[in-house]
Symmetry: C2
């Protein structure tokens, strides 16, 4: 195996331990002229040897699990490990060596559930519980089982700056956020979920790296100016030196499945992954996950957030597709929200109430080759050959709640009857339903945009940017300060609510709906072909 | 039919005449607040009406073939027609209305030849003959028939600044260069070729617009800063407003086939066409050409220059491909040149003489998923399922000759025996052979880089750029001035040479080789599966 190939059976990048306790250290640093690993506490420096394709490596007995280390480039520049598994002091501190194999799993009998049976519950670890940790999340699993959901989807956990973040500012994709409890706590949570019959989806970000603590560019050519994305230069998936980057993310995907027993990945905004290679990086990840599944006998799914209405992503390889199992469809959400009274501004302007919603029930994509006034172009393609289980739908999620200036959930915007209608709209769809944490009992707290950057300039820039974004809405109040601790605290779920009215009734309603969906084949068999949809624009009604 | 759709039966953009002589005028100008057409000589101004998707149009009796006109945007800005068919005074002058249907064709019996039988001869109109016109080219057709070639490939003819240019600086894609003779002269040439049994390939540039006389940005969103290309911002094939741009190029492709009876397009550098739409623009062009072929019963091919070793471009639709009929493979050229003594610098550094050449005979792509040191990444994919007729090979072409500082053809660089070996290497290949004009008689003139921009600043920038590009080669002499008329004159073929030695012998050799290729099924049946290749690196031999 050369250095660019991936080993499905074990992680190779970073610091890894074999069964005899020897550490294998591998770093991709084509920009470096020398590389060593420094354990400050032991005053030990271990030189790495240069290998092919910009890799450096060494085998050593001198690094043990728990050791804190940095990489030293060119005999002076110290950085945490790009493939760090633990950052006890945050993104700017040292990395800590972790032996992922030391966790004792008890989920040997677990089998991933059929994708068709996924009933997804999206959680943000930091605000799901008062403590904001994986351990605290475990205490809510019985509640979720009782609710009837079958899979939790955890918003990104890669190490980000500070302790408060949605997770999309992660800068160390292999490292589990220390304030959430780190790698072992995530393993423990997944093990517990499996014991309770819950699948676990992890949200991962392969399209950009966060703004604070991003040292990748010092090591190698992780970015390219060939393409622009909303976050600046794109991650380099097809320019010179891309192989080191492609391997980095392939190994990352494999690690979650193999070492954390994650059942499915939700890959963020894959439309911002620009890759004109003969084999798209998503297809390459799928090929390797297929290989892993053959080796382990376990089943894993790849789900993508996709803003393109393009079946190439979810079609099988032999049709030229990338082989993704499923994708999110925001258009169902937009159509549903406009049907429920949302004003047609911004990205909602393309949607025409129940007509668009009926279209989405029937064709998944509302725009399937038709002209979008908002995008100012013909958009999308027909998805008639794709199964219902390939589409994830929702009436709210972290984005569409949090993108509002005040982060109001639907419960703050529409009536109780409308909330029930929206729940029903999602739960009778021939697609995979996703609930956003707390919607099942009409949580009254908002879910606002929050960060905790430690770089004062960046913090100020984010603050200003957010204010500017919503300057047109100044009559509706002021945008909350994303850096303020109270913005985060105010976004937490209030666990006393499910027990009191009117929240208790709403919770009961969701439970009943979910139970009905699970009971009737017409609902749980996601047979798109046999769904017929009628609607009446004047009466604002829709009939499935 | 809405304005964004293409009409395969007739051109819609620009000024077009119906059978009653009425002019239909259509302009895509989403940036304009008003549009009119001005015929200065008649002192007539004709207002266009605003239509959907940024189009403007009018039907009028007031414009006749031969009228010279400009479009006036926002009541003051005058520009030639982006879809102009004629620019009698060059890129900065007025457009002239042309009725493409007025040409009387005599090629009713012509049937395009099988792609497998294409034996291509690349010509640059300006330097192929002393006159540098289509009319003059006609006088050489008997010579080409006698040589045995079956298809001429004409380097780009779209109107460029001045009278001397390779053709890749064209700015009006529908307009045939006036100094070559314009649209009717091209129609006449194609008609004549068909009478003589020659197919005609036209080189078209859909990946960028030249630097002088490019007014497109005043009309609409032809460019996007989402992607970078070697020529700056990419042409907008997938960003907001892309539909007007996509239609512009689709109509252009259809026009050459329908109104000029062109048999095949050679689309320049399609790797620089950046398009993440669900239906790639090349596939969309293919779909419409398929439609045209059904309507007319004629056969047309789409050939692409492609620097990606990616079969997605040449695979059929049902495999997720774009359906292109064939592609150029520069790698065969590079391998052959290194085998013939070319030093391994720049893009040649990746090639290992006969080993690479043998690989290309066997697998078309030399790099098919292997690491390219020059590109610094894994490159390409296997093409084992693709037919031999899908690949065009050559021992020289305009690029690899003209990219040299002094533009030397192979005849100036290697021995006569090596020239013969190189000719043989191309003509026994299981691919489509392409000769560059003059190589068949070992033309001794170079083919140098020449332009004739009329903008002094641009001219100076090109001059300086060329000098800088070759500054490392100053010991080998000075780069010729691309603006100088003598650089152009010096690049013309010398038609006395084929009659005298040693050129006559070389010409005879090419004729014999071509005749042999046409005679033996083992050579003309491009059966890649049954080609077996052996080579001996030490002896520098290769055995097919």
């Amino acid at each position: 195996m050369n250095m660019i190939e991936t080993n499905t059976t074990a992680r190779t990048l970073g610091v890894n331990f074999n069964n005899e306790g020897t550490a294998s250290i591998v770093l991709w640093a084509p920009k470096a002229s020398s590389v060593s690993l420094l354990i400050a506490a032991k005053q030990r420096t271990i030189a790495l040897e240069k290998k092919e394709y910009g890799y450096w490596s060494v085998e050593t007995e001198e690094v043990k699990p728990g050791d804190e280390y940095v990489f030293v480039l060119d005999e002076g520049k110290e950085f945490p490990d790009p493939a760090s598994l633990s950052q006890p002091d945050g993104v700017h501190g040292s990395s800590r060596a972790v032996d992922l194999k030391s966790f004792t799993w008890t989920d040997g009998d677990w089998q991933n559930i059929d994708l068709e049976s996924y009933l997804i519950y999206e959680v943000h670890t930091g605000t799901f519980t008062g403590e904001g940790t994986f351990a605290a999340m475990e205490s809510k699993l019985d509640y979720l089982v009782d609710l009837g959901i079958t899979a939790i989807e955890i918003m990104p956990v890669a190490q980000f700056s500070g302790n408060r973040n949605w997770g999309y500012d992660g800068v160390l994709p292999f490292c589990v956020q220390n304030s959430y409890g780190g790698a072992e706590a995530l393993q423990h949570l997944v093990d517990k979920c499996h014991q309770k019959g819950l699948a676990v989806i992890l949200d991962v970000v392969f399209n950009h790296i966060g703004p604070e603590g991003n040292n990748l560019d010092n090591f190698g050519y992780y970015f390219t100016d060939k393409y622009h994305t909303p976050w600046g230069n794109a991650i380099n998936f097809d320019d010179a030196w891309c192989d080191g980057v492609r391997k980095f993310f392939r190994e990352n995907a494999l690690m979650w499945f193999r070492d954390f027993h994650i059942d499915a990945l939700r890959m963020d905004a894959v439309h911002a992954i620009k890759d004109f290679s003969p084999v798209h990086i998503l297809k390459e990840i799928k090929q390797e996950v297929d290989q892993l599944m053959r080796e382990t006998g376990r089943v894993h799914y790849l789900i993508v957030e996709l803003d393109l209405n393009d079946i190439r992503f979810i079609n099988p390889f032999d049709q030229g597709g990338y082989g993704m199992d499923a994708q999110w469809i925001d258009e169902f959400h937009h159509a549903l929200r406009v049907s429920s009274g949302q004003s047609k501004t911004g990205y909602y302007s393309d949607f025409d109430g129940v007509a668009s919603l009926a279209k989405s029930y029937e064709d998944a994509y509302v725009y399937d080759g038709t002209f979008s006034g908002h995008r100012k172009k013909m958009f999308g393609i027909k998805s008639s050959g794709n199964a219902g289980r390939q589409f994830v739908v929702f009436s709210q999620n972290h984005d569409h709640v949090g993108n509002r200036m005040l982060g109001e959930r639907s419960s703050q915007l529409v009536s109780v009857s409308m909330l029930k209608l929206m729940a029903g709209a999602v739960l009778v769809s021939p697609y995979l339903p996703l609930l956003f944490m707390g919607e099942e009992y009409a949580e009254s707290n908002p879910f606002q945009y929050f960060v905790s950057h430690t770089d004062p300039e960046l913090a100020e820039a984010v603050r200003k940017g957010r204010k500017k974004e919503f300057s047109a809405f100044h009559l509706e109040g002021e945008a909350p300060d994303p850096m303020a601790g109270e913005t985060f605290d105010h976004s937490k779920l209030q666990w006393d609510l499910p027990g009191i009215e009117p929240h208790r009734t709403m919770l009961g309603f969701y439970k009943t709906l979910i139970a009905i969906r699970k009971k009737y084949p017409a609902l749980y068999q996601l047979d798109r072909e046999n769904v017929s949809v009628g609607y009446d624009q004047s009466k604002q009604t829709i009939l499935l």
